[in-house]
């Protein structure tokens, strides 16, 4: 599976994703500069964490209008997969590739901590190896991770089963106390209607090695690899 990791000015999880994909998963991976529009050679594009353009206006706003993100529309239409984590999720929302928006954490502070996620939708290429209700442990690191969508959008997300992860307690129960940033209904990650574009605030790349304290993030990558069928296309939902 050929991965591309996008680098915007101010991105910092690019190296971490690159490391996990090449050194842990042993898959081909290349960096993709933000001005690039040619993504044809890739199977999965990763939009990593960081502070693209400093996030000075709104998190992800400027990157959401960059050439590489414009090219993602076609890439997705042709069946390509996109994983946006942290700033990547913010960018996907700002670009309109995912509905809703990520706003300032309710506590008004940055939060870097371990969280539990309960899997809600195990029917995407990113989560196929998981089961609904499964609890994952993954860190977050952000100041603007509070997910918001208007009531109609939220209803549609639920109706179409597009919420992939919610923040939860260790036993999987979705509680107010387990919500680290005030996200609407504890939403931590969502997917587009086709299941090919996943946005999530937590960092799977930081939970992909035992040495780093856990490998639940790796389960997502393994799902991805398992979704690749022989003719080079992906299992559809």
């Amino acid at each position: 599976m050929r991965f591309g990791v996008v680098v915007f000015p101010g991105t910092w999880s690019d190296c971490d994703f690159h490391y996990v994909i090449s050194e842990v998963l042993h898959q081909p991976v290349q960096y993709v500069w933000h001005r690039e529009r040619e993504l044809g050679q890739l199977d999965c594009v990763v939009l990593p964490g960081g502070f693209s353009y400093g996030d000075y206006l709104r998190a992800g706003a400027v990157a959401g209008r960059s050439p590489v993100v414009e090219a993602l529309g076609d890439f997705v239409a042709r069946g390509g997969l996109v994983l946006g984590s942290c700033n990547g999720f913010q960018i996907l929302c700002e670009a309109g590739l995912l509905p809703g928006v990520l706003t300032r954490n309710e506590c008004l502070q940055y939060r870097c901590q371990s969280t539990h996620l309960v899997v809600e939708n195990a029917d995407t290429p990113f989560t196929r190896g998981l089961r609904p209700g499964q609890v994952l442990t993954m860190p977050i690191s952000h100041g603007e991770g509070k997910y918001y969508a208007d009531p109609e959008t939220l209803a549609r997300l639920k109706r179409q089963n597009l919420v992939v992860f919610r923040y939860a307690a260790a036993d999987g129960s979705v509680t107010k106390a387990s919500n680290p940033n005030g996200s609407l209904e504890n939403i931590a990650g969502i997917v587009n209607a086709e299941g090919t574009v996943l946005g999530m605030m937590p960092h799977p790349e930081r939970a992909s090695e035992t040495a780093m304290g856990g490998t639940d993030g790796l389960l997502m990558f393994q799902s991805l690899l398992g979704s690749l069928v022989e003719d080079g296309s992906f299992l559809k939902r």
Partner: protein, 740 residues
Amino acid sequence: MTGAEPKVTLDLALDAGLTAEEYDRILTRLGREPTYPELGLFSALWSEHCAYKHSRVFLARLPQSGPHVLQGPGENAGAIDIGDGWAVVFKIESHNHPSFIEPFQGAATGVGGILRDIFTMGARPIALLDSLRFGDPDAPKTRHLVNGVVSGISWYGNCFGCPTVGGEIAFAPEYAGNPLVNVMCVGLVRADQIFRARADGPGNPVFYVGNKTGRDGIHGATMASATFDEHAEERRPTVQVGDPFTEKLLLEACLEVMRTGAVVGIQDMGAAGLACCTSEMPARSATGMDVELSRVPQREEGMTPYEILLSESQERMLLVAARGREADVRRVFAKWELDAVEIGRVTAEGQLTARLNGEVVAHVPVDLLAEAPKYQRPTAEPPGLAELRAFDPLTLPEPGDYGAALVELLASPTIASKEWAFRQYDQQVGINTLVLPGSDAAVLRVKGTSRALAVSTDGNARQVLLDPRQGAAMAVCEAARNVSCSGGEPRGVTDCLNFGSPERPEILWQFAEAVEGIALACRALDVPVVGGNVSFYNETSGQAILPTPIIGVVGVLDDASRRATQWFQAPGHRVALLGPPHVSLGGSEYLWTRHRRLAGRLAPLDLEVERRVQRAVRAAVSAGLATATHDCSEGGVAVALAEGCVTGRELIGCMAALPADARADVTLFGEGPSRVLVAVEPERVREFEALMAESAIPWRWIGTTGGDRLVVTVGTKAIVDVDVSRLEGAWRHGFERHVA
């Protein structure tokens, strides 16, 4: 010359912070009166902050070399060889004065400055640590400062993308008018690819790179070289504003241009900005520089040569490129959308020549600028110190309830959990952090090798006040011990020496003694000091801070998987106390928290025992014998035991017994050097005992983990018997309660 600029006189020179003798020296060397911009150059470069006028003679005492040292003091940061072709570059810096004036931006730009010191050497920053000191934790002003400083560090470090993995926060009334913000940064670089701040090769082009120059921070260096008074507020316009996003681009651009081979030398424009770089870089290379100031990218209109030379705008570097390689420099910086402008050339004449539209506005020998006078001012032991030391804590009453006393101590904001602060810091970006904040030392792996680095910063100012020499030595020992506890072998030290005005003999005495103590400890432990920072004039209206040397230690674990953390891992493990029995309530956290006294004598320090204890702990960790290791520091052995119980993911109780050879409060809460708790699985007790026997150190078994209470027996009486969840509650909320 620009007409608006005042004529230089002795009075103006005095105003600029120079002494009459210094001004005389300038007149003699120049053979004429300096121009106004030239006076600015001397004022900044001969300031205490840039020139270490009062400290250099003392700092020469520090051991600065060793087999692993690749770069000692004198560059932007020190460098140590860690094997496998890798080196660590590290340094600690203070940003005390700016942080008091504007806590958020002051702390943020402090982080920015130390990051540049590291990447200007060619290293990628991989870790930050912050050592902070504030006044009374209950004062509203303190809360404002803590919030501002922590969020400033959080903003800059997180946005830039370097994890903050450790530090400390302590409180004492003496810091009310002068908080301390010390930040250490550690970077990684190939040992043969370290860059230096040199301007070799006359004819080579000089590039200005990074953010544009504005009027911010003019006189920052001089401000950091003066004490505060009621007029501090009026100095506010000098505040600098940070831009971590541009800094991140600058990092990537610098590392990329270095890889092209086009870079001869590079230095960050920190204190005294362009003036500093254009004189220090050629001074190191016995060359000169000729620069055209109108080419400097400017953010504001009508800036004078004086302002352009002395601006402390952030996120800028001066880069000397190899002649003919200009295009490489331009290409890389254009890619990262940063300014890179050729502003001049390296010359052979040993002069700094600054021009404005061709006209010379400053023409000064660089060696004169770079070699400020050195002073050895008088020192004198502070009056009253002997009396303070003579205080006998045993004249104070014993606590009625030792369990409650322990709970109170755990809740003291200096001891309690600092999670409220470090959960605002990204601790993991770079995916290297094997041990996150919350243990004695943070541990970071070195990718592509089996090795890891352990880092810690420490400093106990109360101990330094009572005995500067031993207190400072103990700070070195504690930082090194924390590193050893994690399994790392200490390899190098960086120190940030925060003191009052060196013009006062009793302050300079504290300083001289502290430096001597650091030197003694570093020699005994065989760790060189490869860089550091002196911050004098930390006083407000005549009230100096506690003498506060902060010590940063970097150590190496050859096998990253052989490491230890401070919390108990499982019930049933035996707990040993390594180290000498000597402890004292003098200067202890207990004496302060319970009795508001800062007095008494310190327990003796035996550096040879310290060395052996640390070696024994490392041996136990690397043999896989230790399931937990924890240094006994503030709060003594009782607090260390309680921390073993409550700081891990699960709460685990402990039963411990200590000999009744002193009053129980001394035994439990007394502080002393060289003491470490080690937990050992029952099956490995024999092996551990054999190792201890070999190590020739004092030690004893004191307890066993398990249950849900911490029970400590002194002699025959169980005088502490507390539910661990109560201990945990006190520890977890004790800090946050004051600052949130």
